[in-house]
Symmetry: C2
Subunit: 147 residues, 2 copies
């Protein structure tokens, strides 16, 4: 277990390859606000602090942040990521557990895409038949008012 010595001097910490929250944010792509938020909701474990109460991040923490960032960019929910993180850390996980989470998310994505595509189809049809000029007649409003 790597365990950061708590309550370091700031300069000392940076000298040992540890970084403050701003550098962790830049290195991971996760904003400072969100790093603190992820810690608050327990997604990220509490990190060590300097004497001045500054958070101090190690390479592992930044790696975890990048993991989270990547997972978010693939649309995983925070709760999914919570499970993915614990599977990632569990070296004897069954890959089936990971796949199950991914498949569930994939289904949700596909369902939402389908819904939005049907909205697009309807809207394009209506929009195509709307003159789009100074006249008030408009099939878009007619549809909303009638359907």
């Amino acid at each position: 277990m790597r365990r950061i010595e708590p309550f370091l001097e700031h300069a000392d910490a940076l000298g040992r390859g540890l970084v403050d929250i701003g550098r962790a944010a830049k290195a991971s792509g996760v904003s400072v606000k969100m790093i603190r938020h992820y810690e608050a909701i327990g997604l990220l474990k509490k990190v060590a602090r300097t004497y001045a109460n500054y958070r101090v991040y190690g390479a592992n923490d930044v790696h975890t942040l990048r993991f989270i960032k990547r997972a978010r960019s693939l649309g995983f929910s925070i709760e999914d990521i919570r499970e993915l993180l614990s599977l990632w850390q569990n070296k004897s996980r069954p890959s089936a557990a990971v796949k199950r989470i991914a498949s569930g998310h994939l289904e949700g994505l596909k369902r939402r895409i389908t819904e939005m595509q049907s909205m697009v189809a309807t809207l394009e049809h209506l929009s195509d038949h709307c003159h789009g000029d100074h006249r008030p007649d408009c099939p878009i409003l007619e549809d909303l008012a009638k359907a």
Copy 2:
């Protein structure tokens, strides 16, 4: 201007074709909660009340609720709907204004669909190469950890 006489008897109101919030909800498909919410944010004008402080809806109000419901089901934001409603009520609106709102929304939808499709593509690729069994090796986690 149809103006509902304020402070009616409940039975009297129902006798005149006016309805209470529950009936308006059923007739429009908008939940009771959301009708009150839309009123609170000013999307729906304040309606008359009975002596017992019950909201009383006329046919026009129910029609407006159906308009909102339909617009929401096409994915329009509340702010878009606010504009669409005022254009709907403005008989000399230019249809171009309506079309502009619809086109903006359409673009947003298409952009989000594209984003989600690229998530799907990535996830399907990763998922296809994951055994999904008892073994811990998993390209999904590898991608999240490395990329």
